[in-house]
């Protein structure tokens, strides 16, 4: 009991130590309305955010801003800093855990970018209801001697089979994202982890240019790449269980989160969300028909 109270005190002290600084710039729904701006933290990624002001996430956030009756503002950011830009705390993921390594300025109110819900991210942000399904696949150039697995119908077995083929190969991924090789025990599988410093949209070209033997790529990007470079790449198999993407808010922005969930519910009910998805990812319905039902 004594130890717990001490811990609680420490937490409270930490909270109060950080709080006063962030309270100036962060905001829940009231503050957003007061400021009359919804700041959308975005990173060019597949068809979620084309980087030209279009994309599923961009349009969704625009609609959400309309729903709230505030102005939509796009704030460009990067994968390595996006959480810090939202929460004001720079973090470093270590497996399923996260290490807080510092503070920074809060630049946005929401992350909507095809943002995969990961255990370590859930420790620092609050996710909305899932907005999009995804999965991480292992992709190789078509001339690679590695052959695609035979699907067994059992996701776990498929993942194991995919991991088995990685031994002795290099695996390109992107740290700090759902394509971080460390999230999938790549090195434990006898493969070499490589981090890509470029954008997610450039991962497939990097693979084709031989930057690594294999590539971790999520489904949305894979779908784009398969169409863009047919016959140039091949999908070996899944590296993760089916995952979900969501919109991320600050953990203390509960009102804003609830508002978004309500907005999303209404979009799903009237079919407008499905239409929006169909506009940017028409093919996803065949892969994940249940998700959008």
């Amino acid at each position: 009991m004594k130890g717990t109270s001490v811990l609680w005190k420490a937490v409270m002290m930490a909270a109060f130590a950080v709080g006063p600084v962030r309270a100036q710039e962060a905001g829940d729904l009231a503050q957003i309305r007061e400021r009359n701006q919804l700041r959308h933290l975005g990173i060019p990624y597949a068809h979620f955010n084309t980087g030209t002001g279009e994309g599923l996430s961009v349009e969704l956030m625009q609609r959400f801003a309309d729903f709230l009756g505030v102005e939509y503002v796009y704030v460009p950011t990067e994968w390595s800093t996006v959480i810090g830009d939202l929460t004001g705390t720079t973090v470093k993921p270590t497996g399923d855990d996260v290490e807080r390594i510092g503070t920074c300025e809060v630049k946005g109110d929401v992350i909507a970018n095809g943002f995969t819900i990961l255990p370590w991210r859930e420790k620092v942000v609050a996710f909305s209801k899932p907005t999009f399904p995804t999965q991480v696949w292992l992709v190789v150039p078509s001339e690679s001697p590695v052959s695609p697995i035979e699907p067994t119908g059992d996701e776990a077995l498929d993942i194991l089979a995919t991991k088995q083929v990685m031994e002795g190969l290099s695996v390109l991924g992107k740290a700090g994202t759902c394509l971080d090789p460390s999230l999938y025990d790549v090195s434990e599988c006898g493969a070499e982890e490589r981090n890509f410093s470029g954008g997610l949209n450039d991962l497939a070209p990097a693979l084709l240019q031989g930057e690594a033997d294999t590539l971790l790529l999520d489904v949305p990007d894979s779908l784009v790449a398969l169409v863009k470079w047919p016959g140039r790449i091949k999908v070996i198999g899944p590296m993760s269980e089916q995952q979900e993407m969501g919109v991320a808010f600050r953990q203390e922005s509960q009102e804003l989160l609830n508002a978004f969930n309500g907005f999303l519910r209404s979009c799903m009910a009237d079919g407008s969300y499905v239409e929006l998805v169909r506009k940017y990812y028409p093919d996803v319905f065949s892969y994940y028909p249940v998700f959008f039902q």
């Binding site: 696949w137 052959s147 695609p148 398969l226 047919p230 091949k234 999908v235």
Partner: protein, 1166 residues
Amino acid sequence: MGKEKTAVRRWPDVLLTAINMILLLYVLHLLFINYTTQRDLRGYAEGRFIRETERLAESVEYFMAQSRRDIDLLATDDELLAYFKNKALGMSLQYGLRATLYQLKDHCADLLTRQSSLGTPLFSSILVAETNGLVLIENDQVRGNGGEGPLPFIDESGAKVRYLDQPGAKGFYVLEPVRWQERVVGVVVATLSLDEFIRQLEGSLEDHGYKWCGLYEGPDLVYGVNGTHEPPRITHANDKEGASSVLISNGKVFCRVPVKSTPYALGFALSARQVFGPAKPLQQLFGLGAAVALVLFGLLGILRHIERKRIEKVLREERQRLANVIEGTNVGTWVWNVQTGKTVFNDRWAEMAGYTLAELEPVSIATWEKLAHPDDLKKSEAALQDHFSGRQPNYDCELRMKRRDGHWVWVHDRGRVVTWTDAGKPLLMYGTHSDITQRKFTEARLHESEQNFRTFFNTVDDLFFVSTPEGRILFSNRAVCEKLGYEEEELQGMHLLDVHPPACRQEAERIFGAMLRGEEHMCPIPLQRKDGSTLPVETRAWLGTWNGDTCLYGACKDLSRQEEALQMFHKLFDNNPALMTLSSIPDRVFMNVNNAFLETLGYERDEVLGKTADELHLYEDENQKRIVNEILMLRGAIDREELRVRGKRGAVLSGLFSGEIIENQGKKFLLTVMTDITLQKKAEKLLRRSVELETRVAEMASHFVNIGAETIDSEIEGGLGRIGRSMGIDRAYVFLFSNVDETMTNTHEWCAPGIEAAREHLQGLPLTTFPWWICKLKRQECISVQRVDDLGPEAVAEKDILLSQGIQSILVVPLVWNNRVEGFIGFDAVTAAHEWSPTERSALEFLGTIIINALKRKGMDEELARHREALEALNRTLEEKVRERTRQLEETQQQLLLQDKMASVGQLAAGIAHEINNPVGFVSLNFATMESSMRAVMGLLQEYREALKEADSATSGEMYDRLRCREEEIKLDFITRDFDALLAESHEGFERITSIINSMRDFSRADTSGHREGYDLNKRVRDTLIISRNAYKYHADVEFEEGDIPMTQCVPSQINQVLLNLIVNAAQAIESRPDMERGLIHIRTWQTDDAVWCAVRDNGSGIAEEQQRRVFDPFFTTKDAGKGTGLGLSISYDIIVSKHKGTFQVQSRKGEGATFLFSLPKEMEQ
């Protein structure tokens, strides 16, 4: 074939001709009209109609082509190719492949929405599938699942457009294969609904008045539109594929127009009325008149036609009949103009040569000459000439013709000149060819067969005749000539009986007749050679046919060799040393026996012949007889079966029996041979017995090595039994001589069942009872008597004794040990005499050696056992003495050790006492001085206090108070009160120290310290209890059990010290038990013969076993520190044991108290 006359009636030709002319003109007119009409109609049909319908077909074709283009685009869609490209990379539908189908799906969806010109969907369905039936896209949905088996439109035909009429799938299918890396990997199929198609078409036809009547696939109508006339099969013999066709029939124009690039054609119909409109009136009137006239003369024409038909029918029938004849006979026909050479052949003629008629064109007589065999051609020409010249009424020749494939066929060529020229030369000749190849082949085979039979007939060794039923010889084979010495010509015409000896001819004739009647089957009468000698034969005769006439066949088996064999057999039979018999079957009566049989078994011939083996009691064993008979019945023969037979005088003979049932002239006989093996059996038996005996003896030898002395006697008797049984004797025994009184005793005996034992009567027999026997034995000689009866006078004593016991044969072997005869081993045959073989004697001698060795070993073993027992008894006594002595030595050692320890401690104690005593001495002295001084000081102090009290407190108050306070501060009152107690305790302390030093000194002193005197132990115990009352009164009760004990000589002070020590220790042990409020100390005294005892028992804490050995050790204590020096018991022990030569011991268990016992000798050593 001759001329034929037909019956034809003649009508008035003029009238008919005139009428016909008129009609002809009209008909010509009508024909003209019809022609022009048809021409026009055809012109219309082949012109405008076809053009327009072709345009319709083009629109359909365009419609199809457009559809195909769409589908073709789909089949070459990049997304579809990307799918296969990715699939080639091994990607699965689950991971990756689906992506490439999505855009394609949209294209399919686009196609589905495309509308026809009528505003309806062009395609009713779009399907993209792999060749294995996996459906990728169906309409606008990505599937990725399998279809129901192979899709119906995936086939090898490669047709791009197919019409399928299947349930739920009626319509046009436009197919386009999907090619990937030059392979067809899939198919795109679009369905054009038939209804849509028809609507399209009918929409186009509305303005033209055409009726669409159907859809053709090739010449076949695959879809007919209901309600229209079924169009005829619109093809012509010269139709080119893909061209439009027109048929005008019954006032209708039918047009079949192919749809290009498809296997289909459309059929359209149009009536002539629609082309030309209604007919003109004048033409109608003219036509009516012409029609009437036509009817009238038509009747005429019909009648003529009927007659003509009848004639034609007759001619046809004739012709048909002829053709049937030709076909039925399968002959080829030829008609030859002999003069010109022109020839006509029919198809069959050409077929015989392996050609068709067309292939032989142009045909002439040279055709035939070319095909005929050159050798046969000459024969044919000759036959022709014979016929031409009239020598032969017909031409008839068999010749060979060469077939197309090169081999020759035989044909029967026949013919006849039917027409002659005026000059008498042959003009027309008709003939036939028949294929006689098979017949020729059969003839050749028949000839060959005849040759074979002839060769066989003439090479066989038997004599064969063919004669008339009366017996006149018609034919005989070469054997007849060779064996009888006649020429073949001589035999021709001879009678069968002529070749028999005259004396036997009548009998032969009778037998032949009987054979023909079936009463006899063979004639044994020999034949007579030309030179008069006879030839032994067996003749058989039967009726048959020869050249179609009844004849008599005769076959004679030459028996001359058999005769020789029979003679040889008789020689062998009679002279064979083995016993041979010949008996009849089934009665087994001896028909013949050989000399060996008679001599061996002791019979005369007439005693045996005509009897059976049973009647002669030949078989010794009925079972053997049964076995022999069974084998004979089963196999018909028996080979070397061992059998025992009995002779006339009862002697039994052993033999190897063989026999076989033979047949001669229809009768069965048993021929037996038996080889005498009696001697062999005897020798075998002896050998077997010898081997067994030697084996038994060897077994006994190895067995006796290992047995113990206690079993030797039983083993000897057992061995005697085994040997006796194997030898087949009745009694075996061992006798041993006694060196003391010259007797012999039967020590071991075995008797066969039924033989009485005699051992008990044969004990201690004087050696003089068997003088001869003993004499031989003493010389180490064996005694072997086959028949006791045969013993001579020198052995009369032995003979009488042996015979009285019924012994017929006896064998005795001496038992020799160290060249000395110790006894003998003997074997008696009682039931029957026994012939002792050398082997038996040798084996029994060896047995004797074994037995004597065993008996000697037994004696040695017994003596050895006796010595061993004495040694063991001595050993046991020795061990007990050693143990007792060891115990004594151990006790002495303990005592010596303790004494040694005591001595060491004593020296140590003396040293310590000495060292302590000095300082104690001067401290004690100083203390005494100090005591005296302190007492004086204390006295003075008391006087000062009293003086102070008396002083006036008012005058010396401050000082009085100060002093008073100081007194209270130092507790002067207490000090003064405690002063005496301190002094007293100090005194006591000094005394204790002095006492301990004295004890240590006592401990270290020699035995001689202290004066002994008469000591009453009971009184001393009582005194000690009083003295030590303070030590135990608070903790324990005391019981003293006084025994009746005498006075002892002791040093009183020392024993007192021991008693005190023990009582104090007991009290302290009781005090140390926290669970006991009050204990008990029990003291008992008693005496034994040489000592007075005292035991002090307490129920204190007890002493642990491992500490009991040390309680008497100096300085060992179980008490708490400061509670004891550890010297008490050691001093007590020293006093009792060393100084008084007593004993001191402790008995205790931890927690149960302890008992200390000591004894004092009644008589003390001086």
